[in-house]
Symmetry: C2
Subunit: 558 residues, 2 copies
């Protein structure tokens, strides 16, 4: 039996929450300790209402009119108000504000559900001919405004790709699985794991997000250190664009010109719709373990993380929380456990103070390999003052790793907003970027707000650099417009700090609409122009996702 991965219960019949993360029957309550911690720093919040569907009037929330009249689209199409609302926004902070408050400025005019290449091609042809705006939809988990109908667009049809789902072929000699782009994480792993295989791609959004979405946004799974990023896992893929189709065969490597796969990866639906992909899969490992350690402070933790990855210790996963995030993790994750009490006492004895940073280290493979890897990690981190905590915190983290986004909704309920930002930078730039972005995020939001508590962790380490992931908390203004505006001010400030410190606009969430105004700087004017021409070639009338990647309009408050 392959017991190392848990396949979650089938999610097909579970109802998705309209105004928050995931499924309506799933919750992650904020612990009293966490609420106390936040209240102490931010003051007493006022509850933020959740969505009241009895009061929902799509004509009122949109531009005051009903859905635009649309031509025949050649596939199943719906313009039911709640279906349109369910496909109106991603899952960034302003999306939740808009959804909860029922103030979504623009809904798609319809949701189309093509089920095969013929239907999709007909839909793209119609969109191209009739001047529609088509928005591909996988799991709808964008945190960059990627799936939000732009206010200034033509009639908008959101294209739900659930029909392009499932495992089509498994080449067990080569370890290659061909899957539909609309396949969600759980469906994908279930199909593979019943045959003893795994893709091993586990972004935090995994329960909802889809293979096509991962490819379109250059996703990185939490185990990217061992498994590689999504671009390392794609061997071949099919793209359908208004101007034609690109079917790139599965190849292990090639020197036949520039890699067109890498042009589709990260194209965010702007160049075409990814319909299927052939992925590099592996046999399920016999063992998967995550252990935890504490290091005395951030500097020693960064040095230890760098030593581990540059020393080639074959870890599957490595995360380092800064002191603030470590405090919160202890409060949230360990707060209620007997284990936590033991840990605290023991650490006091070991002289680990309040600057301590938590490290999670994962290993997988044969039992022997996992043991040897963690032993090597202990040896490498010891000179950096590591104190090993064992498997307890890792078990907690593994059990909850896809549940953390639900916590955001619980905090919203009581009135705390939270947002995350991520980037990547060479190791030599970590200190500067960490300081600059923490400062930019911590600045008070105005109107008597207190400084925002900023948490950070390193994850996805590479030999030459690492991703930094920031989490901020604030009291959420009751007025949705004010809430979004404050957030936009913070987002702009943080984005500018990231670019000034040499970080990338995104390590694993993409450009979307929200980072797009800053993208010409990162791509260089000429690089940006090249991508623009590629878009013009494949989608000559800007039919697909015109608002993402290459549109310089600031849409943070849209």
């Amino acid at each position: 039996m392959h017991s190392s991965k848990v396949i979650p219960s089938a999610s097909k019949n579970r109802q998705l929450r309209l105004d928050g993360w995931g499924f309506v029957d799933e919750h992650f309550a904020a612990s009293p300790e966490l609420l106390a911690w936040l209240t102490e720093r931010l003051g007493q919040p006022e509850p933020f209402p959740s969505f009241d569907d009895s009061a929902f009037d799509p004509a009122a929330t949109a531009d005051g009119q009903g859905p635009a009249a649309l031509p025949e689209l050649g596939c199943a199409t719906s313009n039911a108000p709640l279906d349109r609302l369910a496909h109106a926004r991603g899952r960034g902070f302003p999306d939740l504000v808009r959804l909860r408050s029922g103030t979504v400025p623009r809904l798609p005019d319809a949701v189309a559900r093509p089920v095969d290449d013929g239907e999709l091609e007909a839909l793209l042809a119609t969109g191209d001919r009739e001047g529609l705006c088509l928005i591909p939809w996988g799991g709808g988990t964008s945190v960059t405004g990627g799936v939000n109908p732009p206010a200034d667009a033509a009639p908008v049809v959101t294209v739900d790709l659930a029909g392009f789902s499932g495992l089509h072929q498994l080449d067990e000699i080569s370890g290659l699985a061909t899957l539909g782009a609309g396949t969600t994480g759980p469906a994908l792993e279930a199909a593979l794991q019943t045959q003893g295989w795994t893709l091993g791609h586990f972004p935090q959004s995994w329960e909802l997000s889809t293979l096509g979405g991962w490819i379109a946004t250059r996703s990185a799974g939490q185990e990217s250190l061992g498994m590689g990023r999504i671009e390392d896992l794609v061997a071949g893929l099919d793209l359908t664009a208004p101007a034609g189709r690109m079917s790139l065969p599965a190849l292990p490597a090639s020197a036949a010109g520039p890699d067109l796969r890498q042009l589709v990866l990260g194209s965010e639906g702007r160049f075409g719709i990814i319909t299927r992909a052939t992925m590099r899969v592996r046999r399920l490992p016999a063992s998967q373990r995550v252990e935890a350690a504490l290091v005395p402070d951030w500097a020693s933790g960064v040095a230890a993380a760098r030593a581990l990855v540059q020393g080639g210790v074959p870890l599957q996963l490595l995360r380092l929380s800064d002191a603030f995030e470590t405090q919160v993790a202890m409060t949230v994750g360990l707060g209620r456990s007997r284990f936590a009490t033991l840990v605290r006492g023991w650490l006091k004895l070991r002289g680990i103070g309040d600057q301590a940073c938590l490290m999670l280290l994962g290993a997988s493979g044969s039992h022997r390999h996992a043991d040897a890897t963690l032993e090597a990690a202990r040896t490498v981190t010891r000179p950096h003052g590591s104190v090993w905590l064992g498997a307890g915190p890792g078990r907690h983290w593994l059990a909850d790793r896809f549940r953390h986004p639900y916590l955001r909704d619980s905090l919203f309920d009581v009135g705390f907003g939270t947002e995350t930002l991520e980037t990547a930078v060479p190791w030599s730039g970590v200190d500067r970027l960490y300081q600059a972005v923490s400062q930019a995020l911590a600045e008070p939001g105005g109107d008597g707000e207190r400084p925002t508590p900023v948490l950070c962790h390193l994850s996805h380490p590479y030999r030459d650099g690492v991703s930094l992931y920031f989490t901020v908390f604030f009291r959420c203004p009751q007025n949705p417009d004010v809430a979004v505006e404050r957030w936009a001010v913070m987002k702009r400030r943080a984005t500018e700090a990231i670019q000034a410190a040499g970080g990338t606009l995104s390590h694993h969430h993409g450009i979307g609409a929200w980072h797009a105004p800053w993208f010409p700087h990162e791509a260089n004017a000429d690089g940006w122009q090249v991508l623009r021409r590629v878009a013009d070639t494949l989608d000559p009338h800007n039919t697909l996702n015109p608002h993402v990647l290459l549109d310089r309009t600031d849409r943070l408050e849209a």
Copy 2:
């Protein structure tokens, strides 16, 4: 001391051979055993003359005219006949035929040597304005016609990039080295290794080829299994094009849109000239070992190689020769050694017959890691019938690995031609491709020629597939036109067989001019069109390398 890599003596003052591989003071003689082996199969050859520079008349070999009049190019420029000849051809079979026989159809009209960005930009601007054809030149080792002035081109200026050379910056925290694109392999490793670092990129052409050439053609070093391909090693790069510059910063990873680096990688000078790159480098390993094993036959060798790489054994290098190549390797590499005699006797005792296949397995890192890796490899290959030969053959191979191309010139001297082809394919396609390409290559060349002996090895294995590298031998016709024509027939046949069997046009040599007619099939019509538009954007007047990558003209006989 870092003793694991040998830095060859500085090559700066060594004279390059005009009509063959490498340096004039270096030779690799064909052993009597090899000559006997070839003569037995192909018949007695007639010596093929080498180049007679006393008889060289550039006006006669070109189009009967002297070099075209050129505008002022703003940098050091030469139109000396032998300088033009030295920059007239790459190092494929027809190149050597043309160079040795002094029948090069077209020389560049001048060789330009810009030394900084300003000179290069001025040169590109002049080329763009005056309708010149500019051909970037690194080491001149193309085996795809990449650097050959096309017969139908405007005045041709070959742009020698030796001025863009050297180590500019070393970030020892991040393991990032910024180097000029014209830096050759030996100069690059010397600059890094004196500081304790290595890039670890060792293609067979390493003594001559350059960083920019590796990037432009998506090179793979012989240790790609451990070190990654050149695209895995590039963190950032600068490209200068007629329409502008792209300066892509060093980042460990990014989700900020499609990866523009991956569009430059493999662009073969068609989109611009790579001037410098920031590369991921590593500390020199303490130990580097290559051991050899024999397996009973090709099928068991392929199975063993697949088991090693899919099982995650952290080898640095893995090669498997087929039975024919194993026989030749034994004849050539071991023929004269006492060790070989011992090996033969011992193998007879172990029951290894004439279908035996040679495997080379390399490990590097700490002594302990290298030992453990090779021990793991022994364990994994044992069920496939491996018999371990120890370090002897590996030492031979390491000592000679950059000298093998010199053997080709020695064979030419006696009248044997040789050519190589390479591709990559998923593991499930190896058998079919191996059969199809071997058959296509073995077909007699016509005019009473005997079947061509075809040798093959697997190298550069990946979890999902592997590169196949074919070597063929034939008697070289005395008439250079006939020699090139026969070769072209074979090349077309083999290329079609590779595509029909699902292989890529090239695993590590690029498209150049010679594979370009088949490239639309691999890139798909739409992918090809996209690349065409990218070229139009960066180089609107087809100034740079108009004959490579995107020109469908069959130039095999040009």
